[in-house]
Symmetry: C2
Subunit: 243 residues, 2 copies
Amino acid sequence: MTVDSGHIVAAYDDEMQQLTRLFSRMGGLAEKQLAEALTAVERRDLDLAGTVKDSDRAIDDLEHEIDALVLRMLALRQPVANDLRYIISTLRTAADIERIGDYAKNIGKRTIAMSSVGTPPMVRGVVRLGRLVQNMLKKVLDAYAQGDIQKAVEVWEADEEVDSLHTSLFRELLTYMMEDPRHITPCTHMLFIAKNLERIGDHATNIAETVHYHVEGVPLAERRPKADASNYAVVTPGEETDK
Amino acid sequence: MTVDSGHIVAAYDDEMQQLTRLFSRMGGLAEKQLAEALTAVERRDLDLAGTVKDSDRAIDDLEHEIDALVLRMLALRQPVANDLRYIISTLRTAADIERIGDYAKNIGKRTIAMSSVGTPPMVRGVVRLGRLVQNMLKKVLDAYAQGDIQKAVEVWEADEEVDSLHTSLFRELLTYMMEDPRHITPCTHMLFIAKNLERIGDHATNIAETVHYHVEGVPLAERRPKADASNYAVVTPGEETDK
């Protein structure tokens, strides 16, 4: 090996490490943002909600850095096999993390909006959904860092619980709205917060599928059937008295 | 050039054309799915809503085909410069189209759910929002196929109208819910349908940014400020009488 090609290999390794570092920082920020969004909802903490709303920018910037680095690596290093799969998987997963940041930001915005219309309903249930999703995100980022298939599969399976909890929250929120028109605005924002959390769970599941694909080279079977039936949920007035 | 390298160049050109064909088919299916979803809402056509719900699979399959082709091209052809940008842009845009398909599918599901609770409210307004978004999607796919920056910029600008129409629909739907608890379930599904349409508009805007990046090699300025204020919308009972 000549000195030159040694340099090239060293630069390539540096870039791979750089990619991993950027991605890990991005994942860490998204975890923090989600944790803070949930605390903001739980404590009706508007300062924290404002911080969450603004912290999305750093995540977007990291995604752009990752995109640029990936393009440069593909153009200059022409990676193949495992490395190529890892690089493309990271590009894809960074897009999932970026969306997770958007959803957390949206939770911050809605927390601020709800503050003017009294105590939001169903806070405990929605935060519980959020903590489930937060665990999924933490676990799937570990799975990613460690190439741990077992953890990825656990995340993939956990999404079913998230979907079914989301569906029952959806129905309860509708019921609550029917009891008193003053509940309608805050409940609507809670519906969207719950939906955001359910979507974050979907993105964690996507990442689990990407980890599986990257490590094993084959997809994680068929996409898991969705247990989220909230799209079909119907509650009619009168029903709410049956609780 | 030897016969062998001639073969390689021909195979490369074939693959580039294949990528463009797959992408164009995927875009066409998403346009069709969105158009049918809107017609299903407009006419309360449950058969069509069912078709929309099921047609998402073909879009997902095409995305997988595109992903696999891109990985193969990156590994075997090691494209650079313009070609590399085009290939990565297509990978990214295919992910946007896949999401658009998911949102259209969700509109189909909600149309079915609403059918059991009477005539959904605000159909005209929501369909109008949908037609705006449908035009954006059509135009941005043309911009993509033709590398037409002007059209991409028009789409990027049109998103502001979508956001502001969405915000006013959001407020009107809340108002409507306060008038009669029987409106709550159908209005909630209409809220989510409107949100789905607004998100499709966002994805069309993403695609416009990708077209700009691919053609010009630089991003389309800063990301457009969002005019969607629905996240902050608050309506209190009593306000609805001011209409």
